[in-house]
C-alpha cells in the first residue's frame, strides 16, 4: 500500500493531546443525520462536559436560545416543521424545520440538506425564503430557522379555480417576484434546479418567496460535468431531457416560463407522464428541436425525437392560448421557451422586458388574491417537511431520489 501523507514523523506536542482522556471526535453522540453510534456510550463525565461547553457549543446555544419552539405544523419523513417565535420579540414568527434521519442515506449529512443550507446561508433577498440561522439540538438534530410563510404556495392558488380568481395584473406581480428571485440566484452564481409553483411560497404580506434549495448548486466550471437529472419533469428544459451534462442558468429560465404559462392557463402547460412523453409535448407545444433551430442539439447524449417534426410555433399559437397577458406578455413567454438554451432569454433580460411597464400594472402585493382559511398554515408544514428536491408523488415523478450521488452533480 502507498504510504499515506498523513503519517508524519513529527515528534509532535499534539501527542499529549491525542493521548489525553478527552472527549474526542469518536465519542460524539449518535446523530439523526447518519453519524454512526459510537461503540462505547459517553461515560459518567457527561455531566462535567455539559457544564463546560466549548466555544462552538456556546455559540450554538446562543443561536438556539434566540427562538422559542412552538406547536408542530407538519410532520414528514424528511423533517418536522414547528412554529417558532423570536425570544426577544414574540410577535415575530419563524418556521423551525427539524431535519430527521435520512434512512436512505447512510453517509452522514444528506446532500440535499447540505445544498439547502449552503445556498440559503448566502442568499438574502426579499423573494427568496430567508434562513435566519441553523442550530443543532440534542441528539444532533439539525434545525433550520426559516422565515414563516403562512399563505401556502402558488400551486394552491392556481389549482383552486372555484374559489381563487385572479387576472393579468396579479400574474404580472407574481411573475415579477419570481423573476427577481431567479435573477438574484443567478447573479450569485447559483442554479436553483427545481422551480415550480409549489416551491413558490407566499408570505403574510403576499410576497412570493422561492424556497426549496435542495437541488441547487453553484455554477460549474466549464470542464466539470453536472447531472442532467434535475428539475421536476413538467418544468424540465429540453437540454436536460436530452441528457446535457454542461448547462447554464437557462435551465431555470425555462421553468420560469412554464410557471408563467401555468399561471395563465391554471393548468400545467406541458404535463408529461414520462420523460419521453415530456419531449413529445415540448415538440408539439413549442417546436421540435433540430440542428436548424438549435445547432448541436443532435449531439446531446439522449437526443431522441419522433419522425413528426413540428416547426417552432409562432406567435399565433401562443396568442390563442396566452393572449390575455397581451402582446408583450406573449413575447416574454416565448423568449423563455426558446429551445436553444444559448438563445433563451436570461433572467436579467427578463427584468428589462417592456411587459412589466405595459398596462395593467402589477397588483400591489397586499391586494393580491389569497387563499382564505387555515389551509395555508397546514401547507407551510406540508411544503417544508418534504425532503427538498422531492416532488409530491401524487403530482408528478420524483427527481432527487433518482440522483446518483456517486456521479457528478
Amino acid at each position: 500500500m502507498a504510504v499515506s501523507p498523513l503519517v508524519d514523523g513529527l515528534p509532535n506536542p499534539a501527542a499529549r493531546a491525542v493521548s489525553s482522556p478527552l472527549k474526542n471526535a469518536a465519542s460524539a453522540q449518535a446523530s439523526s443525520n447518519g453519524t454512526p453510534v459510537p461503540a462505547v456510550a459517553p461515560n459518567a463525565t457527561a455531566a462535567v462536559q455539559s457544564a463546560a461547553l466549548d466555544l462552538s457549543e456556546q455559540m450554538n446555544e446562543d443561536e438556539k436560545r434566540k427562538y422559542i419552539k412552538g406547536k408542530k405544523l407538519g410532520e414528514g419523513t424528511y423533517a418536522n416543521v414547528y412554529l417558532g417565535q423570536v425570544r426577544n420579540d414574540p410577535s415575530q414568527l419563524v418556521a423551525i424545520k427539524k431535519i430527521k434521519i435520512n434512512k436512505e442515506y447512510t453517509e452522514g449529512m444528506s446532500p440535499d440538506a447540505v445544498r439547502e443550507i449552503k445556498h440559503l446561508q448566502e442568499l438574502d433577498h426579499p423573494n427568496i425564503i430567508k434562513l435566519h440561522t441553523v442550530f443543532s439540538s440534542k441528539d444532533q438534530n439539525l434545525n433550520l430557522v426559516l422565515e414563516f410563510l403562512p399563505l401556502g404556495d402558488l400551486e394552491i392558488l392556481i389549482k383552486d379555480t372555484a374559489n381563487v380568481h385572479y387576472g393579468v395584473a396579479d400574474t404580472k406581480a407574481w411573475m415579477g417576484m419570481l423573476t427577481r428571485a431567479v435573477w438574484f440566484c443567478h447573479e450569485n452564481f447559483v442554479l436553483h434546479r427545481d422551480i415550480k409553483p409549489n416551491n413558490l411560497l407566499i408570505a403574510a404580506d403576499g410576497e412570493v418567496k422561492l424556497a426549496d434549495f435542495g437541488l441547487a448548486r453553484s455554477f460549474s466550471d466549464p470542464y466539470r460535468p453536472m447531472t442532467s437529472n434535475v428539475i421536476t419533469r413538467w418544468y424540465r428544459p429540453p437540454e436536460l431531457l436530452f441528457g446535457a451534462r454542461h448547462y447554464s442558468a437557462a435551465v431555470d429560465v425555462w421553468s420560469v416560463g412554464l410557471v408563467f404559462a401555468e399561471l395563465v392557463m391554471r393548468a400545467p402547460y406541458l404535463a408529461g407522464n414520462t420523460e419521453l412523453e415530456q419531449i413529445e409535448l415540448i415538440c408539439k407545444g413549442v417546436g421540435t428541436p433540430t440542428e436548424e433551430n438549435w445547432p448541436g442539439v443532435t449531439k446531446l447524449p439522449e437526443y431522441t425525437i419522433s419522425n413528426q417534426i413540428t416547426p417552432v410555433l409562432g406567435k399565433d399559437h401562443y396568442n390563442a392560448l396566452f393572449g390575455t397577458v397581451g402582446n408583450e406578455g406573449v413575447d416574454l413567454l416565448m423568449k423563455t421557451l426558446i429551445l436553444d438554451p444559448r438563445k433563451r432569454i436570461t433572467a436579467r433580460d427578463m427584468l428589462k422586458h417592456p411587459w412589466w411597464h405595459k398596462d395593467p400594472k402589477p397588483t400591489r402585493k397586499k391586494e393580491l388574491p389569497r387563499k382564505s382559511g387555515g389551509e395555508g398554515e397546514e401547507k407551510v408544514g406540508a411544503d417544508l417537511k418534504c425532503r427538498p428536491g422531492v416532488v409530491d408523488e401524487d403530482r408528478t415523478n420524483k427527481v432527487a431520489r433518482k440522483l446518483d450521488f456517486g456521479g457528478p452533480l
Partner: protein, 264 residues
C-alpha cells in the same frame, strides 16, 4: 444590492468568518481557556490526586493547526482532489479550530472529516467507503464520526469564497490591457496560482481579507508590476488616496502570505 462588495458582505464568509486580528486572537484565547477548564474538570473528576498536565498555549495550538492544515493539503493531493475542494477543506479545518481546541478534538481524525465534508460541500460526492479506503487504517465510521461536530463548528457555513476565479479574471484583464508580454503574464499566472493553492490556506488570510485582496497579494508576490498596472487602471477615476489605501492593504496581506511560501 447588486454590487460585488454588497454581495460579499452578505456571504457567510464575511458575516460569520471575518474578524479583525484582535477579535480572532480573543476567540482563540477564550477557546483555549475553556478547553483547559473542561479538561481539568474531567481529569480531576476521574483521578483527583493526579497533577494536571501542562496545557498548550493559544500560540502553540495555532502552530499545530497550521501544521495539520499542511498535512490536510498533502492528504488532499494524495487522493487527487480538485483544487477548490482542497481549499474548502483546509478552510473548514482552520475555522473549526477557532472555536474548538486541538486539545479536545484530535486533528488527524478531523482532517479526514474535513476532506470528506469538503467534497460534499463542493457537490463532489464520493462514496464513504471509497473515501476511507484511500487512507490506511481508516474506516468510514471514523470519517463520519466528527461530521456533525464539524458542521456545527463551522457554524453551518458551507460556502467558502476562494480567490482562484478572481485570478483567472485578473489574468484576462492583464491580457486585455496589452501592456505586457504574454510570457510575463503566463509566468506570474502560474506562480500566483501556486501561492493561492497554499499560502492563504495555511495562514489567517481568509479571516482578514476578501478573495480579491488575497488574489492581488499573491499576484504581487509573483510580479508586483502587474498589480501596480491593474490598480492604476481600476483607480483611474478615484485619485491616489483610494489607490494607496488599497495598495497598503494588499501589501499587508502579502506580508502574511510570505510567511508561508509554497513548499516544493
Amino acid at each position: 444590492m447588486a454590487t460585488e462588495d454588497a454581495r460579499y458582505r452578505q456571504s457567510s464568509q464575511y458575516r460569520l468568518w471575518s474578524f479583525t486580528t484582535g477579535h480572532l486572537a480573543s476567540l482563540r484565547n477564550e477557546c483555549n481557556s475553556l478547553a483547559q477548564k473542561a479538561i481539568s474538570a474531567r481529569l480531576q473528576s476521574a483521578s483527583p490526586n493526579d497533577a494536571l498536565p501542562e496545557f498548550l498555549t493559544p500560540a502553540e495550538e495555532l502552530s499545530l493547526v497550521t501544521h495539520y492544515t499542511v498535512e490536510l493539503l498533502r492528504a488532499a493531493a494524495f487522493i487527487e482532489l480538485p483544487t477548490e475542494i482542497r481549499a474548502t477543506a483546509a478552510i473548514f479545518l482552520r475555522r473549526f479550530y477557532v472555536t474548538n481546541s486541538i486539545m479536545t478534538y484530535p486533528p488527524t481524525e478531523l482532517l479526514k472529516t474535513c476532506l470528506f465534508f469538503g467534497c460534499k460541500a463542493e457537490g463532489h460526492y464520493m462514496r464513504l467507503s471509497k473515501f476511507a479506503d484511500k487512507f490506511p487504517n481508516t474506516t468510514g465510521e471514523e470519517v463520519l464520526a466528527a461530521e456533525y461536530v464539524l458542521s456545527q463548528g463551522i457554524r453551518f457555513a458551507f460556502d467558502v469564497r476562494h480567490p482562484f476565479r478572481a485570478l483567472e479574471g485578473a489574468i484576462m484583464e492583464l491580457r486585455r490591457l496589452g501592456d505586457f508580454e504574454n510570457k510575463r503574464i503566463d509566468r506570474a499566472h502560474g506562480k500566483a496560482r501556486e501561492i493561492l493553492k497554499f499560502s492563504p490556506l495555511v495562514t489567517d488570510a481568509y479571516f482578514h481579507y476578501t478573495p480579491s485582496q488575497i488574489m492581488l497579494a499573491a499576484l504581487a508576490m509573483a510580479d508586483e508590476g502587474l498589480v501596480d498596472r491593474m490598480l492604476r487602471e481600476a483607480f483611474a477615476a478615484q485619485g491616489d488616496t483610494a489607490k494607496e489605501k488599497c495598495w497598503d492593504l494588499i501589501q499587508a496581506c502579502r506580508a502574511m502570505l510570505e510567511k508561508e511560501p509554497p513548499r516544493r
